[in-house]
């Protein structure tokens, strides 16, 4: 029995880590796989590091949170500091290469550390608003938890109403997904 893949996404409010986790979880569920997603939440309404715990497997998922992720993605300075505790010897640690001054904070025990220029790519090549879709592409390429087709279907389901008004947005989002996958493919 293969164990569930454990994914941890962390970033600032507004970076969309929760919606990425939710879309991937729903896509996995659509594929007939077992998925469990839980956000962290506290009394603060804004300002904290936003963390999403996501697990995808073929058997019912156990505890909703976990100690060590298979892939941990940190999208801000504070997120790097906050997520170190979830990194073990088997963890792929991904962070955005534009985050400065975190060299000393990067986890030392990770299996592999992967900086990707997701913020830069979304800003310069695409649109800052599809940053989270770039991240989504990176996650599915690194983990293989869902297929590209299912990922696109899930994006369509979530944003289809916007695409109807402006079909260019569909193209932009799908391009963002593919770019995210490429970034990981190149880095690996």
């Amino acid at each position: 029995m293969a164990k569930a893949v454990k994914i941890l996404l962390a970033g600032e409010g507004g970076q969309g880590v929760q919606s990425v986790a939710e879309i991937i979880a729903e896509a996995a569920n659509e594929e007939g796989r077992e998925a469990l997603y839980i956000p962290n939440f506290g009394v603060e309404q804004r300002g904290g590091v936003s963390i999403a715990y996501l697990q995808i497997g073929d058997e019912p998922i156990g505890a909703p949170k976990f100690q060590t992720g298979d892939i941990v993605i940190a999208l801000s300075d504070r997120a790097v500091h906050r997520t170190r505790q979830y990194v073990g010897p088997q963890t792929l640690f991904v962070y955005d290469s534009s985050i400065e001054g975190v060299e000393d904070a990067l986890p030392t025990q990770a299996k592999k550390i992967l900086p990707i220029p997701a913020i830069e790519v979304s800003k310069n090549e695409l649109h800052p608003r599809v940053f989270n879709i770039v991240i989504m592409g990176a996650v599915i390429k690194a983990t293989g938890v869902i297929s590209v087709e299912e990922a696109k279907k899930a994006i369509e389901k979530k944003l289809g109403y916007k695409f109807e008004k402006n079909p260019k947005l569909r193209e932009l989002n799908f391009r963002a997904l593919e770019r995210g996958m490429e970034l990981v493919a190149q880095a690996i």
């Binding site: 839980i38 939440f41 009394v43 019912p60 505890a63 909703p64």
Partner: protein, 362 residues
């Protein structure tokens, strides 16, 4: 107006709070009374979105005391009424639920436990076990289901209404902040499609016939002048409760027959314990899994039987021994040694349980 909220069955992926709203809807709940508190807010949010489509009602009250008493009032009017709360709201809810105990009213309350004491965290705990099972100035004449998955949250919320109206004891569904906020898949269904018959609600007052002549008079009291009068009523209640307890009590267990150590947990923590026991078994370690589904009444016979075979119980909970206290009473006199893994207000993973078992095994 659509006839049935769900036709047949449907696989869905949603949060536990949404699950509760759907379950209450298909269970035939007619009104929810509520006051917002994290992490159960979305039960109210979903209910207020769904209810008007099916002719159901909602009333937001000024606090949980009021939400509890209006739920009592709704039930007295013969309606399937429910409320949901958490933490300090559950504390306030104990006063109206004591009244429901006194009058034997089938109130349904969904609890999504958060950290305690007081405001503590809005996130998660299993620290409302003592309060939910034995709260109020009474004897705990209530029924408490502790759920572990979204499927159970759906199944047992439906069941809670049936249990309450069948046996006339206040009934609680005990979830937690994790179950409230996480998303996972489950199958929601029309109870009739599974052969589940819904127990009908009926008014307590204004029944046909002359009281004392055609039917026994309806006595709805929470006040007594004389000690002996209260004693007599309570004796009757205890007898009723004792009689129904074996019928109501539920548990889940596996690998307990030859186990040296049995891991005992409830609610969401049992998911971690289940995974841990399976993993340890694969390594050839003789461990078992036991989980009471009803925390009140407890499955006493099954606990005692398990406690007579196993050498050790490892009690695992996100509280400082609230379930352990109930277990010790149930297993009193059994030679089992009670060990613990308590993390009050903090989640427990399978890794935590595995390493504690290995530490005990030495």
């Amino acid at each position: 107006m659509p006839d049935k909220p769900i036709e047949g069955e449907k696989r869905v992926f949603m949060t536990g709070n949404e699950v509760v709203a759907w379950a209450a809807l298909v269970a035939g709940a007619e009104i929810m009374y509520g006051y917002p508190i994290t992490p159960q807010n979305e039960i109210m949010h979903y209910w207020t979105r769904l209810a008007p489509k099916y002719g159901r009602e909602f009333l937001q009250t000024e606090d949980e005391l009021s939400a509890g008493f209006t739920t009592v009032g709704g039930v007295l009017a013969g309606r399937k009424a429910f409320t949901a709360t958490a933490g300090p709201g559950n504390t306030l809810m104990q006063e109206p639920m004591s009244m429901a105990e006194a009058m034997r009213l089938p109130t349904v309350v969904v609890i999504q436990q958060r950290g305690g004491p007081s405001t503590a965290t809005v996130i998660y705990s299993q620290q409302e076990v003592t309060m939910t099972t034995l709260g109020g100035n009474g004897e705990g004449l209530r029924i408490v289901y502790s759920t572990a998955t979204h499927q159970e949250l759906f199944d047992y919320t439906i069941k809670a209404f049936n249990t309450a109206w069948k046996y006339r004891f206040p009934t609680f569904v005990l979830g937690d902040g994790y179950q409230a906020k996480m998303r996972e898949s489950l199958t929601i269904y029309d109870p009739a499609s599974r052969g589940i018959e819904l127990v009908e609600a009926e008014p307590f007052l204004g029944k046909p016939g002359v009281p004392g002549v055609d039917r026994p008079p309806t006595q709805l009291r929470n006040t007594y002048n004389v000690e002996e009068e209260l004693y007599e009523v309570l004796e009757g209640y205890f007898k009723d409760y004792e009689k129904i307890a074996p019928e109501v009590a539920e548990y889940e267990a596996f690998d307990v027959e030859d186990a040296d150590l049995v891991v005992v947990s409830h609610g969401v923590v049992s998911r971690a314990c289940k995974a841990a026991v399976k993993e340890l078994r694969e390594e050839g370690i003789k461990v078992g899994y036991f989980r009471p589904i009803t925390l009140r009444p407890l499955p006493v016979d099954a606990i005692r039987e398990t406690a007579s075979k196993a050498r050790q119980f490892l009690v695992v909970e996100s509280a400082n021994g609230q379930m352990a206290r109930l277990l010790k009473e149930a297993a009193f006199g059994c030679p089992v040694e009670m060990l613990s893994l308590f993390k009050p207000g903090v989640g427990i993973t399978a890794e935590d349980v595995v390493s504690r078992v290995k530490e005990i095994a030495g």
